[in-house]
């Protein structure tokens, strides 16, 4: 009997055809939708919930059509999900898809290159992205919206200006909007060192003297208590809503309105010398290592009672108090050089909701960014992170009574400093990411002795001027 056998080649051919067919079938769009609705049926005085499964085969009607927005909310906390839910409850025709991760420039680049950018994005290098033309200007949207305005005084002018480029507004100030830096003190460590907590230092020279008095070492020379690491946290940053603040302490802006750099100057040499002074006192490797040792902890050693002074972001007071209620903290203006003693300085910035140009739903996106400035969202953010709202109306009514008086004062300091400081700086740097890289490598080179402060100032001027010239050339 002649048995029909399938050869190996035929078997493989049939198998691959079957696999290809299965793949094609799996890629077909789903037509049938199933929705589960919960019906509440009230019977006399008893409320009964009945789950009803309803199969819907038709496309939803125009009235029921929901807009879907992709929102890269910038921080992966559950608080962002809470804000998203609150927004969806208010705007039932909008559904939010959240990007719950720390937004990275590379991700945004890839999304834009791939033709799938988010509709709303936060926590990016704001000016750098705005200046490259991928963000939607919002002047027209603000003009017609009933709940927000540029000039009603509810959001400070400096905060609005921080997200302006070439005369247009691009961002609605939303999260952590306050003066961008403050010098925090652990008053208990200061007291233990025999210093006067009622007479806090206001100049860098005074801070250095306090640092030397507070810093202690064990018998082998390892740091036990550190007075001050001037490069921890805020002083390291130049982007993401926190412009380079060192020039402001010395009374100048490193980039002017004509987009020219002013870095190679005496003042830059002076503050590089100040940074080197602290490093040399402790030993740069030891200082770096001490900072890294608690890098994963909120505010590092400062939040754990082993560092006495730190220049923090405005979100310092609440989380520090929550993590360490044994010690008392206080915040004030950042120090200035002796030649500017008595002058208080602050920088505007923070985080904003930006709408990308590719969005199909600009009005809906704008509702989201406005929602971030309103009561419900601001309450959630303050409870989660200690981030203050950009709105004066929120700050005047928000109940902080659960926090000790000194914490309330510190929060108010950051908020009020934007109005009260002698100098309030607004920086618009279209290459802020590059500025940050060059700043960080330059000050480290000075700390480690690879460059003198004079060389560092000249190096920054040269590098950043060249990069800015290239950016401007490409714009043309």
């Amino acid at each position: 009997m002649d048995q029909k056998r399938v050869s190996r080649r035929e078997f493989m051919r049939l198998g691959s055809l079957a696999a290809a067919g299965a793949t094609l079938a799996a890629c077909q769009p789903q037509v049938v939708e199933k929705t589960v609705e919960v019906e509440k049926v009230v019977e006399a005085t008893v409320e009964v919930e009945k789950v009803v499964e309803v199969e819907v085969t038709s496309v939803p009607s125009a009235e029921e059509e929901r807009v879907e927005l992709l929102w890269w909310c910038g921080w992966p906390g559950s608080y962002m999900q809470a804000i998203a839910k609150a927004f969806e409850d208010k705007f039932r025709n909008i559904r939010l898809e959240l990007g719950l991760f720390y937004t990275d420039a590379g991700q945004l680049l890839a999304a834009i290159a791939g033709g799938n950018p988010p509709d709303v994005v936060e926590d990016i290098t704001y000016l750098e992205t705005i200046a490259r033309g991928v963000i939607l200007p919002i002047d027209d949207l603000v003009a017609v919206h009933p709940d927000i305005a540029f000039d009603d005084g509810d959001i400070s002018t400096a905060s609005w200006e921080a997200f302006m480029w070439e005369g247009k507004h691009y961002g609605v100030p939303s999260c952590d909007i306050a003066g961008r830096q403050g010098l925090g003190f652990n008053l208990d460590l200061i007291d233990e060192a025999g210093l006067d907590p009622d007479n806090l230092p206001t100049t860098w020279e005074e801070c250095f003297a306090w640092h030397q008095q507070i810093t202690t070492y064990d018998s082998a020379g390892n740091i036990e208590i550190l007075g001050f690491d001037p490069m921890a946290e805020r002083t390291n940053a130049c982007s993401f809503g926190d412009p380079w603040m060192w020039p402001h302490m010395w009374g100048f802006n490193y980039i002017d309105e004509n987009l020219e750099h002013h870095i190679d100057r005496e003042e830059t040499v002076e503050f590089l010398n100040v940074i080197k002074m602290f490093s040399d006192d402790v030993g740069v490797e030891q200082l770096e290592g001490f900072g890294e040792a608690m890098a994963g902890v909120s505010r590092g050693g400062f939040g754990r009672g082993t560092v006495a002074m730190r220049i923090t972001f405005p979100s310092g007071p609440v989380p520090v108090w929550r993590n360490n209620q044994n010690d008392t903290y206080d915040w004030t203006y950042v120090p200035v050089p002796e030649s500017r003693k008595g002058i208080t300085t602050q920088t505007a910035g923070g985080h904003a909701g930006l709408i990308t140009k590719e969005t199909k739903y600009p009005e809906e996106c704008f509702e989201l960014v406005v929602f971030l400035t309103q009561q419900e969202a601001c309450d959630i953010l303050f409870e989660a992170n200690g981030w203050v709202s950009p709105r004066k109306s929120w700050r005047e009514t928000f109940d902080m009574s659960e926090y000790p008086e000194h914490v309330q004062e510190d929060v108010r300091f950051f908020v009020d400093s934007l109005e009260d400081a002698d100098e309030v700086w607004v920086v618009r740097d279209p290459i802020e990411g590059i500025t940050e890289s060059v700043w960080q490598s330059t000050y480290q080179a000075v700390q480690f002795g690879d460059m003198t402060p004079e060389e560092g100032a000249a190096h920054m001027q040269e590098e950043l001027s060249r990069e800015l010239a290239r950016f401007l050339e490409e714009r043309e």
Partner: protein
């Protein structure tokens, strides 16, 4: 008279079937290797930040690399140092471990598993562990030192020690190379060892004259893959040190990433990538050329 090749219908059919089977790979190769390589070469000749169209500038990026960029020399120097030190170190570590694991000891499979585990542990998890080990105050090593009244070692905050610290991590991750060496060691014919023993060779002489020559082809493979991989090291330097302190661990791939995704200089990053390819090719050619002197292939005359 030259006969023309005229394939029969059956042969054509077989050729088409073969091509159909291999077509997924061909499509993938074209789409995910050839096209990106071509695109990256084109972008290396442009100024391109992804947000705006690429602008052709010829060899401007390459000129910037060699004559303008002050970081390039540092980055290249760091990378060459790292390759020259960590490739031999990792190689020797893997080989010695394989020799140890080839001995007849109790619970040998358990030891083999333990030494292979680092290779399959997720990189981020490994980084977390190493950050703790190297931590200046609370790390495994330094807390013991501090407990004994000694000065802590600034593993990742010293410009002198940061790169060696990465080399140690690299040596720790040689599980795959160990397994490959182990397979090669077990493939050495016993008859050769017996013959050497009969000739009066001691342990060291057997190792030098039998073991090593027989595993040299595998050594070449491990060296080559180690070289290529180390030149492209990114994950551990980026996660452990972010290129610091003071650019001491700013390796080539870290710099490419920073240029592309932090500085929005995709064109420049592409040019850096092509130069890296050239450097790797040069090293590979040198390795192959010299291999004739030290690699023993049993089938050769």
């Amino acid at each position: 008279m030259i006969e023309r090749f005229r394939p029969s219908r059956q042969e054509v059919g077989r050729m088409v079937t073969g091509l159909l089977f291999v077509s997924p790979w061909i499509i993938g190769f074209l789409a995910f290797t050839i096209y990106p390589m071509g695109a990256s070469f084109y972008y290396s000749l442009t100024h391109y930040d992804v947000f705006r169209p690429a602008r052709f500038v010829g060899l401007d990026n390459y000129r910037e690399m060699f004559f303008i960029d002050s970081m390039f020399g540092t980055v290249l120097g760091n990378t060459l140092w790292f390759v020259v030190v960590s490739v031999p170190a990792a190689f020797v570590t893997a080989f010695l471990l394989a020799i140890l694991l080839n001995q007849k000891i109790r619970a040998r499979p358990l030891f083999r598993t333990i030494f292979f585990l680092p290779s399959i542990t997720p990189a981020v998890a490994s980084v977390m562990v190493w950050l703790w080990i190297y931590n200046t105050q609370h790390g495994l090593i330094n807390s013991i030192l501090i407990g004994f009244g000694k000065k802590a070692i600034p593993w990742l905050s010293s410009t002198t020690l940061a790169k060696p610290s990465l080399v140690i991590v690299q040596c720790w991750m040689q599980g795959t190379a160990v397994v490959i060496f182990l397979a090669a060691l077990q493939d050495v014919p016993r008859a050769l060892y017996e013959a050497a023993l009969v000739d009066g060779a001691n342990t060291l002489q057997r190792f030098w004259n039998v073991t090593i020559p027989m595993v040299t082809p595998v050594m070449l493979f491990v060296l080559l893959t180690g070289l290529i991989g180390t030149f492209q090291s990114f994950l551990f330097p980026w996660l452990l040190t972010r290129g610091g302190p003071n650019n001491a661990t700013e390796l080539y791939s870290v710099y490419v990433y920073r240029s592309a995704f932090k500085h929005f200089k995709m064109g420049y990053a592409s040019a850096l990538g092509w130069l890296l390819l050239l450097i790797i090719v040069v090293f590979t050619v040198i390795l192959f050329r010299t291999s004739a002197r030290w690699v023993y292939y049993g089938g050769e005359e």
